[in-house]
């Protein structure tokens, strides 16, 4: 596989690289709630994945074989399935990061004094 085949994977990796550091920075508890997180991904991602399968089937859009990995699931590149896991995850991380920041949590700060007591 040549480098261009990783083009879509690179985009997913970029999304994760930008949001996963929010977890330690704002001490988010998102990953400590795996059941809630997986249910969120299933509930939100599934209808859009079904739409995607249908849209690809009827030809609304399609994927470049040169810029995706060779594996296909029901005609979709594996990355496209990954998209519907990654996007709900990064959405939740961004929301919780914003919630923490607006509550006054500062990135990297060890712990607020109030909490430490």
């Amino acid at each position: 596989m040549s480098l261009p085949h990783w083009s879509y994977v690179a985009m997913l990796a970029f999304c994760l690289a930008g949001t996963l550091p929010l977890v330690p920075a704002f001490r988010l508890r998102v990953l400590r709630q795996p059941r809630r997180l997986l249910l969120t991904i299933a509930l939100a991602g599934t209808p859009f994945l079904v739409w995607d399968l249908w849209a690809t089937h009827v030809g609304h859009w399609w994927f470049d074989e040169e810029q995706t990995l060779p594996w296909r699931v029901a005609g979709l590149p594996l990355e496209e399935i990954g998209f519907f896991v990654v996007i709900p995850l990064v959405s939740v991380l961004t929301l919780e990061g914003v919630r923490a920041a607006r509550r006054g949590v500062r990135p990297g700060a060890p712990r607020r004094r109030k909490e430490a007591r």
Binding site: A10, T40, L43, A44, A55, Q67, F84, P88, L95
Partner: protein
């Protein structure tokens, strides 16, 4: 149905879900709009990568534009069909609604259990 019609429907359904079905009302919060503002900026970047390079390509019959890849205009913004913004809004809002709804349900169940424990004790 075209992608355009489906994408517009998806925005409406996501808002209906938030306000009247799950009743999470995140669209009334500054947290949601601040998060969405950040997300939509990065969506333009990442989706621009997917569409500008032609990793994903679209049929001109399904979208407002012609199907030709352009940076802006012809129904496109940063290479992506504007319909993708609606698709993205729907997916991101549904994710946040599901997360918030599940969180409230868990908190409610927990307080129910605590109340029951107190009664039981």
């Amino acid at each position: 149905m075209t992608y355009t019609a489906l994408a517009a429907t998806c925005v409406v359904l996501a808002v209906v879900l938030d306000r009247w079905v799950a009743r999470t009302r995140v669209t009334s919060t500054g947290d949601w709009w601040a998060a969405y503002a950040i997300i939509v900026f990065f969506q333009l970047l990442t989706n621009g990568w997917l569409t500008g390079r032609g990793i994903v390509r679209y049929s001109g019959d399904a979208i407002l534009g012609s199907g030709e890849i352009r940076f802006i205009g012809d129904g496109r913004l940063v290479f992506a069909p504007v319909e993708d913004l609606m698709f993205g809004f729907g997916l991101v809002l549904c994710s946040v609604v599901a997360w918030t709804w599940l969180g409230r349900r868990e908190a409610r169940d927990q307080s129910h259990n605590e109340a029951r424990d107190e009664v039981g004790a």
